[in-house]
């Protein structure tokens, strides 16, 4: 069905149960839509997104010979792919589909004014019709996918993902900035909740990675540049100071891990010798260098769950403290151990039991409130004194102690920002990598073909990191398994006759999709362009047009909003 034939528009208006239908008078909007120019069919559905609704669209296309489809319902963010697919299945190019958001932007926003909401729904449908009349079919270019993955970071997350990808039949490159594989686990002593030796399993995994024929390991290596796009990344890595290598990569996994926060200036850290971090205690336990302590005080949430700044909970510190306290008790049964906490994060099916076990071993837990944090001072005999307001006893107590251990949060590595810029992916408010959707796309990036797992995403323990690592081993494998992908059709197009070659768009493009060609005019790599429109909006010569959002289409929509008759 060509777009140049007579325009025949079908409008499907959704009640969304009562979300829309409870406020907007949907049948009235249907009647209104039927009278709009080029609309040959209109109907309402209880749920247009239900399997019945989808069948209705397809039947409508066949019965009424539709070549433009409008759904007035919820948001294109969640539902456009579904409706577009329905059009395609019925033989209508999916770019001849238009959506009017009469829920989020209408019925929800004007819940208490049903009549006005109905009028606005009519306006939104009219605007969609004005645009739909001008729509043109678009084609999505197909690209091949290189069956080779890059895993950035050779810790437990990166290695787990790499092994699983290799077992699925793909070539994997691991890039690790340190001279050896292993990441954070190299520094850890025992792992909760099984109390397994961290090095024991780590060595097995490292050996499995090294002996796997499909995995190539590059240590002391960093990623310097990433060009290209999903399926066709061209990655430049630097080994040591001088040697650079170019890799052809299909998909990229970010597994760069996290660092430990150093609590400079807090609780006497670096001021008193016997104030150390939980991470330092872990080293002492691992190397068996911990001297017999009489009394140990662990302070939780040091530099975490703050009022401002690092507001987040680092998730692993309560269990790490409980684990290390239990280990000290095993080594030195007579040692007294206090854990000063705000809220104990022993979540899930196993950790609460670890906490109860610790209590049964006479490890003392004292709750403190954020407003009255503990104080660490130097006592008369050179010992440390920890002052704490015990809320339960409603009194301040003093605990003389010979070792104070500060539980500090995991924080992003210093080079996280640089890597995010190289990869053109986002960071969250605390500098961890930011996923595409917190709920349903937790290990994808918004940029296609790049994925994240482990503590690079947010603080988490070994089991949780490993779970995510297996997760990205699926996400990153999918494009490589299908071998060919369709890419975005809504891209920018440069009119060479109007382009002055000023280069504004080249600088502004967040995806690096634009460069100047030999004639000095802007050239867009279509498969890299995400269709964000930044270039078109900022072009001083108006030389850039957005497919599917052309000036003609958007103007028609705007004029319709003002109630002007259709051109």
């Amino acid at each position: 069905m060509g777009a140049n034939d007579e325009v025949r528009i079908g409008v499907f208006i959704c009640h969304c149960g009562i979300n829309i239908g409870g406020i907007v008078n949907v049948p009235k909007v249907v009647e209104y839509a039927k009278k709009l120019p080029d609309v040959v069919y209109a109907e309402d559905n209880l749920y247009t997104c239900s399997s019945v609704g989808i069948s209705k669209i397809k039947e409508g296309i066949k019965e009424h010979n539709l070549n433009r489809v409008i759904v007035a319902s919820c948001t294109p963010r969640t539902h456009e792919p579904l409706f577009r697919a329905a059009c395609e299945e019925a033989g209508v190019n999916k770019y001849l589909f238009e959506m009017a958001n009469i829920r989020d932007q209408c019925s929800w926003a004007h819940m208490h004014e049903p009549e006005k909401a109905t009028e606005k729904a009519k306006d939104l449908v009219r605007m969609a019709v004005a645009k739909a009349r001008k729509l043109k079919p678009q084609e999505e270019p197909e690209i091949d996918v290189t069956p080779s993955a890059l895993v950035i970071g050779g810790g437990i997350s990166g290695m787990t993902a790499a092994l699983c990808l290799a077992n699925q039949g793909f070539e994997v490159h691991i890039v690790e900035k340190e001279p050896e594989l292993g990441g954070m686990l190299r520094h850890l002593h025992k792992l909760y909740p099984t109390m397994q030796d961290a090095s024991e399993r780590l060595n097995q995994v490292v050996n499995a990675v090294k002996s796997n024929k499909r995995i190539k390991v590059l240590t002391s290596t960093v990623v310097k540049q990433v060009k290209g796009f999903i399926g066709n990344f061209r990655v430049t890595v630097e080994k040591g100071k001088s040697k650079t290598l170019n890799l052809e990569i299909g998909t990229i996994v970010v597994a760069t891990g996290a660092a430990n926060f150093e609590p400079i200036g807090m609780y006497g850290y670096k001021q008193f010798d016997n104030v150390i971090t939980q991470f330092q205690l872990e080293q002492l336990l691992k190397t068996r260098q911990l001297e017999r302590p009489q009394r140990v005080v662990m302070i939780q949430c040091v530099g975490a769950r703050e009022e401002k700044g690092r507001t987040y909970c680092s998730r692993i510190c309560c269990m790490t403290a409980i684990k290390n306290a239990t280990l000290i008790k095993e080594l030195f049964p007579e040692a007294e151990i206090y854990i000063l906490f705000r809220d104990l994060q022993t979540y899930g099916k196993e950790y609460e039991t670890c906490y109860l076990d610790a209590r049964s071993k006479f490890i003392q837990f004292i709750k403190y409130v954020q407003e009255r944090p503990p104080e660490v001072t130097s006592g008369p005999s050179g010992k440390l004194v920890v002052k704490i307001y015990d809320a339960l006893l409603n009194s301040e107590i003093e605990i003389p102690s010979d070792l104070v251990v500060l539980s500090t949060p995991l924080i992003p590595h210093e080079d996280t920002k640089e890597l995010s810029q190289i990869l053109k992916v986002s960071l969250g408010p605390h500098g961890f990598f930011f996923e595409a959707h917190v709920k349903l796309r937790p290990i994808d990036f918004a940029t296609d073909g790049i994925y994240v797992c482990g503590t690079a995403h947010s603080p988490k323990d070994t089991a949780e990191s490993v779970s995510q690592a297996f997760g990205v081993a699926s996400r990153a494998a999918i494009p490589m398994a299908v071998k060919r992908l369709r890419t975005e059709a809504i891209t920018a197009v440069v009119d060479e006759n109007l382009c002055s070659g000023c280069g504004t768009c080249v600088k502004l493009c967040p995806y690096g999709a634009i460069e100047k060609d030999e004639k000095g005019v802007a050239r867009i790599t279509q498969v890299v362009c995400k269709g964000c429109g930044v270039c078109a909006a900022s072009c001083p010569e108006n030389a850039i047009e957005m497919c599917h959002f052309t000036k003609e289409q958007v103007t028609a929509q705007a004029l319709a909003a003002l109630g002007r008759p259709f051109a």
């Binding site: 149960g17 989808i54 787990t160 099916k349 297996f470």
Partner: protein, 440 residues
């Protein structure tokens, strides 16, 4: 592709759905089995999700439909696993498809049958708060949108058969046995809710205005029994003061569940904020033991609930709740752990946050699959640290809450992980030269 390269996914909540989509998207054949009439699971029952406040159904429905439309996914709803034989790479599975008494091919989901059905029963999907007919779809966005006759309550009056224009009703439908050959199995059966009546001092089941959090979700949901209007059960009035009680049956040291359900502090925060959005003048209390908001963005979510919404968090676990029989109001006695004082608050509505527990039929399924369960009857990981998605049996994987408490993003990540493990199994089987070789 030969048939043995298929994968059976047991349970079609968000975890099972995500595992299926990952596998199907890479070209593998998936059988997605669900014991209830529609896919969607627990997430479909939720109003909104923390900490983004996404409308749960709005982000789930597209995935449900995708499963329905996907050429590589076969939905087996209203079905149960009967028998599993064979080993990794080469399982033979017997499925029992229970009779819906409706021809799935013919039913258009128009609902005329339900309009005419004279039998009203409490709707399980609404936690029994609303009603459905004996011929029903559990939710309006059911996938597949096919009606089911609930044999237990049907009077066999035949009215539905008379009004059905599609001639889809078949009261003589028999159970159907299906045999599948699959290379791997993923278990994603989710969770059940602890019976809050067991904590008798809170009065659930005796006091009308003591409800559970999942009941509240249904009351807040626009597609729920009250159309999204929060009213209290005793008198239909809008509650002004609402108290949430955490750890009902969980973190118990007296014989219920010792573990933490992981999601309640965060969802109670969300529900508190939602109530405030419905009725800005309402007062919300959340009574807790430890505030567990360890997930990404959760602490900030709680901070917002406190500062922007005025939700009041009280560190204290109530000893007793008493009802004022005249007003239906509830008096909560608790010890405030911060100052050690015993206090009382009177509220219009109490929302209990019960422990989330393993599915009651896990034992049956584990026996059929020959896999191990842990002491609570959650599915047990072969190695909780490094192989958290493997059961003890090669070729059988798991993801989501059936393995232990976790939230939606964790379940989704694990679902992709289980998909990777299953794909790995299929790849290994074919590299060994096909079905059955070397996998004994």
């Amino acid at each position: 592709m030969s048939q043995n390269q298929g994968i059976l996914v047991v349970g079609a909540g968000i975890a099972g759905i995500q595992a299926s989509l990952d596998l199907a998207d890479r070209g593998l054949k998936v059988y997605l089995l669900e014991k209830s009439p529609s896919i969607g699971g627990r997430m479909a029952q939720l109003d909104k999700t923390f900490p983004t406040m996404d409308c749960s159904m709005c982000i789930l429905a597209p995935k449900m439909i995708e499963c329905y439309r996907h050429p590589n996914i076969t939905l087996l709803t209203y079905s149960e696993v009967q028998e599993v034989k064979g080993s990794a790479g080469n399982f033979t599975v017997k499925i029992l498809k229970k009779p819906r008494f409706i021809d799935e091919e013919k039913c258009t989901g128009c609902g005329i049958c339900a309009q005419n059905c004279p039998v009203e029963v409490p709707n399980e999907f609404d936690m029994g708060l609303g009603i459905r007919k004996a011929i029903y779809v559990p939710l309006p966005q059911a996938v597949p949108l096919v009606y089911t006759i609930d044999e237990e309550n049907c009077l066999k009056c035949g009215l539905c058969e008379k009004v059905c224009g599609a001639e889809a009703v078949n009261l003589d439908q028999e159970p159907e046995e299906i045999e599948l050959k699959v290379g791997a199995i993923i278990v994603a059966t989710g969770f059940d809710i602890f019976d809050a009546r067991r904590i008798s001092e809170y009065g659930y089941g005796r006091y009308q205005n003591v409800i559970t959090s999942l009941e509240l979700e249904r009351l807040l949901s626009a597609s729920g029994p009250t159309g999204g209007h929060l009213i209290r059960p005793s008198d239909g009035k809008v509650p002004k003061t609402i108290a949430f009680i955490q750890c009902v049956g969980s973190r118990s040291q007296r014989g219920e569940l010792p573990y933490c359900s992981s999601v309640c502090c965060a969802y109670a925060t969300k529900e508190g904020m939602l109530i405030k959005e419905h009725n800005p003048e309402s007062k919300i209390y959340i009574l807790y033991i430890d505030l567990r908001v360890f997930g990404k963005g959760f602490q900030e979510f709680v901070n917002r609930a406190k500062t922007e919404y005025g939700v009041e968090y009280i560190k204290g676990h109530p000893g007793k709740i008493e009802e004022n029989p005249k007003t239906g109001d509830l008096v909560i006695r608790y010890e405030n752990v911060v100052d050690g004082k015993v206090k009382e608050i009177t509220v219009d509505l109490v929302v209990l946050c019960p422990a989330l527990v393993p599915r009651r039929d896990n034992e049956r399924l584990a026996e059929i699959l020959k896999v191990e369960l842990d002491e609570y009857t959650f599915f047990k990981a072969k190695d909780p640290l490094f192989e958290p998605l493997n059961t003890n049996l090669s070729g059988v994987f798991m993801c989501g809450y059936c393995q232990g408490p976790k939230d939606i993003p964790e379940s989704v990540a694990q679902a992709s992980g289980a998909a990777a493990k299953a794909a790995e199994e299929i790849a290994l089987t074919s590299s060994r030269g096909g079905v059955g070789n070397g996998s004994k």
